[in-house]
Amino acid sequence: MKIIYYINQFFGNIGGEEAANQPPVIKEGAVGPAGGLENMLEGKGEVVATIICGDSYFAENQSEAKDKILKEISKYKADIFVAGPAFNAGRYGIACGSICQAVQEKLKIPALTAMYPENPGVDPYRKEVYILKTGDSAASMRKALPKMAEFIPRLLSDEEIGFPEEEGYIPQGRRVNIFSDKSGAVRAVDMLMKKMKGEEFDTELPMPVFTHVEPVPGIILDEATIAVITTGGIVPWGNPDSLKASNADRFLIYNIEDIDDLKEGEYQTVHGGYDPVYANEDPDRILPLDVLKELESEKVFNKLYNEYFVTVGNTTAVSNARKFGEDIAERLLNDGVDGVILTST
């Protein structure tokens, strides 16, 4: 089988950080770790060319780099494309994932890379590209290359690739239906019985672990500025800023200085995860602006912050929610907000 191999400027022996802006060059045969991999294949495969590209060059010129590389590779009629291993090097990992994805898509040949599970190159590409797990530094090169050498012929054969735990690649987030000899109900009760008896059991779905934060002391309401936020997707009629109905990638901010009430036909919900009828009839049922304005005028608290923040809580990624929280908090801290009311649907 013919292999094309991608490595960065360091593994290509061009240089370290000072050579990170190296544009892609293609060399005949195997360079650096590609040579090691080729040896391990014991004649079953040949690295016909190695692409060496600077990590910063790739990061800063992704489309040009990909175009150049794809053009060079297509001259070779390779069977498979291999990149890395990138270990925990972030730019390198992103480059490996990105070029593998592009090769698979444009040249229709399988691609394989390898990196440490926390490498930033994992998340964006693991669904489409097989990424073998490695240690966090080049010290584990001796373990990484044999894994890659072993996996390559399997990728090219008709054999089914098994589950990540067995095969050593990073989970791709796929759900695969398998048959079991026991129904889900029986398996669940068996698990519960073990749990109640204090016996060990294997969960079929690991639950995420959430951290807790120290509660902040209570505030003095009559001096306080309060801000209101909702994840219920309340936006001005027509959704002028195109807030998405699910998988929110941002939050929006709207001024409420001069309104006392959210009215039917002026505001609406765009949240795709609950029945919108009641919210659209009266958006105060989600973002309680009317009573907040009244409580402000009654001086129950000092001031209502002049803007509200909105996102859609429907299948929002926890990492995004965290980012929204942090970004909103920064703005509120700058503007002297003392307390927040957040409504969710």
Partner: protein, 80 residues
């Protein structure tokens, strides 16, 4: 979001219907809402009664903000 706003030093109260999700994720101040599609409303009530209910809910939320707490606390007591 509530958790990370609180982490930055601003007390935040979460009004939501499924309070145990909020508890699991880690909000410290939680007020049970009326229902998922209308957390601060109740379409079964008259407009006037609904307004009073909403005001009571927000007053409870404000009470949560002014209360010192030791850990996660549910602020119940508003008749929805």
């Amino acid at each position: 979001m509530v958790k990370y706003i609180e982490k930055a030093g601003i007390p935040a109260v979460h009004i939501c219907a499924i309070t145990n999700i909020s508890e699991t994720v880690g909000a410290n101040r939680i007020v049970p809402a009326v229902a998922i599609p209308h957390p601060t409303g109740n379409p079964e009530l008259s407009k006037e009664e609904e307004y009073i209910l909403r005001k009571n809910l927000i007053k409870k939320a404000l009470e949560a903000l002014e209360t010192d707490i030791n850990g996660q606390t549910l602020f119940k007591g508003v008749r929805v």
